[in-house]
């Protein structure tokens, strides 16, 4: 039988190999599932993973979807590295979108996009940070689980958005649909790549990527947070400031999610409505893990996750499968990653029944 045996030292190779292994396993199981559903596996593979990105427009769509995923995952990684579990990024994204949308609706007479868009992004970041500051405050002041609080606030944020677009911010000329007015053109991000919908929000993600790279590599605080995540007791004895880490970890995720929410409403959506995000805040958690909480890994993982979103839409059109198949693949990917991660600390070894009995 197969047995796990502790390695003398963690395998560096497996740290990089296990995400690829997880992806391969996801593909294999996915193909099996497609076959069971009566789809020829190769055709399904093509529809899911090739069709969506085999033209310029499709490539643009990939960037549009991976941008918020990478941005949020970078923010979440700051906290995750220190075992601070902000799982409410979806709510912080919504609050960021509400704040940015509020600015766009309020300053609708501002025709200068160079003034309006930066204001929207500042408001969006603050909106997300405000929502993340609630679990941060409750965790540092009352020792309350940031996991449960941040998650509960996702539902609350959604209800606030629902109230706004059904009530005070509803478009009076919108035929009663629950949505805000369309933003003026000065509140819409310009298109960056001709023939696609890729908008300037991508710059924010690139900037965040650089900032995160520098922070993780050279900041003493980032190093302390890493230590606190890997060896909490060591961090305690070393006297690292736990509260500061909690605040930083949560606010970074909140700001990133708020910026991502701003990019969505100032980008492809152009108004406030429900839903603003197809679960980017939750999918970004998977992106952060699959990307090994590392900026480069996060970018690669965000592209893969974006492809899973597009593949789901394509599978819906081409194979008449529900688009929710994306969520199944995304969940599977994280399962396989967590499972294959065991090979970092352990190696597999065949042991005969007899020696198991003796041990």
């Amino acid at each position: 039988m197969l047995r796990l045996e502790l390695r003398p030292a963690p395998s560096r190779l497996m740290i990089y190999l296990s995400p690829l292994l997880a992806m391969a396993l996801m593909l294999v199981v996915g193909m099996i599932v497609f076959t069971i559903l009566g789809q020829p596996p190769l055709k399904a593979f093509h529809a899911f993973f090739v069709e969506p990105i085999n033209d310029w427009y499709g490539f643009g769509e990939l960037l549009i979807k991976s941008s918020p995923l990478a941005l949020i995952a970078l923010g979440l990684a700051v906290g995750f590295r220190a075992n601070i579990w902000n799982i409410g990024a979806e709510g912080q994204l919504i609050m960021g979108a509400i704040a940015a949308g509020g600015v766009a609706l309020w300053l609708h007479e501002t025709t200068n996009a160079w003034i309006l868009l930066p204001l929207m992004f500042i408001a969006g970041a603050l909106g997300g940070m405000f929502w993340a500051s609630i679990p941060a405050f409750l965790r540092t002041r009352f020792n309350t689980s940031e996991i449960l609080v941040s998650l509960m606030l996702v539902y609350v944020a959604n209800l606030i958005l629902s109230w706004l677009i059904h009530g005070p911010w509803r478009d009076p000329d919108g035929y009663g649909f629950p949505q805000s007015k369309l933003f003026e053109s000065s509140a819409i991000l310009p298109i960056m790549m001709e023939g696609t919908r890729v908008h300037a929000g991508l710059f924010i993600t690139v900037l965040a990527l650089i900032a995160a790279g520098i922070f993780f590599r050279w900041s003493l605080t980032a190093f302390q947070m890493r230590v606190a995540g890997l060896a909490p007791k060591a961090a305690l004895y070393a006297g690292f400031k736990q509260k500061k880490m909690v605040w930083l970890g949560l606010l970074a995720g909140g700001a990133a999610a708020g910026l991502a929410g701003t990019s969505e409403v100032a980008g492809p959506i152009g108004q406030l409505l429900i839903p603003i995000s197809p679960g980017y805040g939750f999918a970004a958690i998977i992106v952060a893990f699959v990307g090994r909480l590392h900026p480069v890994g996060i970018v690669l993982a965000s592209l893969l996750m974006a492809l899973l979103y597009l593949g789901g839409e394509s599978a819906q059109m081409q194979l008449a499968l529900p688009a929710a198949v994306s969520g199944v693949f995304q969940g599977m990917l994280l399962f396989f990653l967590l499972a294959t991660d065991v090979l970092i600390q352990f190696k597999l070894r065949w042991v005969s029944k007899a020696s198991v009995g003796a041990a």
Partner: protein, 309 residues
């Protein structure tokens, strides 16, 4: 408010509390064994859709409950394998289980969104059910409500009066000591995790075949997370889980009655109540760090493997 309204509100409170009782009691047993499964929401929603499908296809509601339990346990088995056999991070795996469960249920439930179902009916006991007040309050629920009470008594007895319960708690407090005494830590934790999954599955089944007999994507609406919060709120004691669940049932029902009283509040704010109440009770209970430290199983959330310790 007259007596009849009050009785109706109390009965509705019990009905709203039942899914939380199942899910939270299941998670309580899991956490008592030292395992933190954050995937309750995912197990519930998968239990809900599988039970609904079984009910819609066969019309057998008993079978549907069983199918819901098995589906929940099946989800829990994935979690158990990854965290117990492969020693992965329990927080991350639990989150993955919820994301996967929500996706899976939406995927397989696609064709069932407009299917109507004859839900589980309230029982009717001759004489007793027709008694004034007590009849409505005690003898007129569907069978799952009584099953929830039986589960509560059974779990309380198991944890505090049985030898197996003592072993389970020992595993949660100190897996290494339990291992040294010859108990199979991983096997015991597997059993606890599977039980927790089955309970979450029944909680989900209650929602889709009894409480609101229909299927809607994400119909559990955060109840799995509230159940997790309830376990903390209850400081890991079954009696307090029961009280907490009834409290939340009350908050859920209150939102419908506040509007009935003519109070002008947008419905969205009333819908926020259960989530805000969850945050408030968590703050109240965790304010005193000592309470949590004294009551939480000592090994909660930590991977264990006999070669690591």
């Amino acid at each position: 408010m007259d007596m009849n309204t009050l009785v109706l509100i109390l009965a509705a409170t019990v009905a709203a509390a039942v899914p939380l009782i199942f899910a939270a009691l299941g998670e309580l047993v899991v956490e008592k064994s030292g395992v933190l499964n954050l995937g309750v929401e995912g197990m519930m929603v998968v239990g809900a859709i599988f039970a609904f499908m079984a009910a819609a296809e066969t019309g057998q509601l008993w079978l549907a409950i069983l199918v819901g339990a098995v589906a929940g346990a099946g989800m829990a088995a994935i979690f158990g394998f990854i965290t117990l056999s492969l020693m992965a991070n329990q927080v991350a795996t639990g989150l993955a289980l919820t994301i996967f469960g929500i996706g899976l249920s939406a995927f397989i439930g696609q064709g069932y969104t407009s299917v109507a179902l004859d839900g589980l009916k309230e029982i009717s006991i001759p004489v007793l059910s027709s008694l004034p007040v007590v009849g409505k309050l005690l003898f007129s629920y569907n069978i799952l409500v009584y099953l929830a009470i039986i589960a509560f008594v059974g779990i309380w007895w198991f944890l505090y009066k049985s030898r197996s319960g003592l072993i389970l708690r020992a595993v949660g407090e100190s897996p290494s000591s339990a291992h040294a005494l010859g108990y199979r830590v991983i096997r015991i934790r597997y059993l606890a995790v599977l039980f927790g999954g089955a309970m979450a599955g029944i909680g989900g089944a209650y929602l889709s075949i009894a409480y609101t007999p229909l299927w809607a994507e994400g119909m559990t609406a955060g109840r799995g997370w509230i159940a997790l919060a309830l376990v903390v709120f209850a400081t890991w004691r079954p009696g307090r889980v029961l009280i907490g669940a009834l409290l939340f049932g009350g908050v859920t029902i209150a939102q419908f009655h506040v509007q009935g009283l003519g109070v002008e509040i947008p419905s969205q704010f009333l819908s926020m109540l259960p989530y805000l109440a969850t945050i408030i009770v968590l703050v109240l209970i965790s304010r005193d760090a000592g309470v949590i430290r004294l009551n939480a199983p000592a090994s909660l959330g930590q991977p264990w493997h006999n070669e690591l310790h």
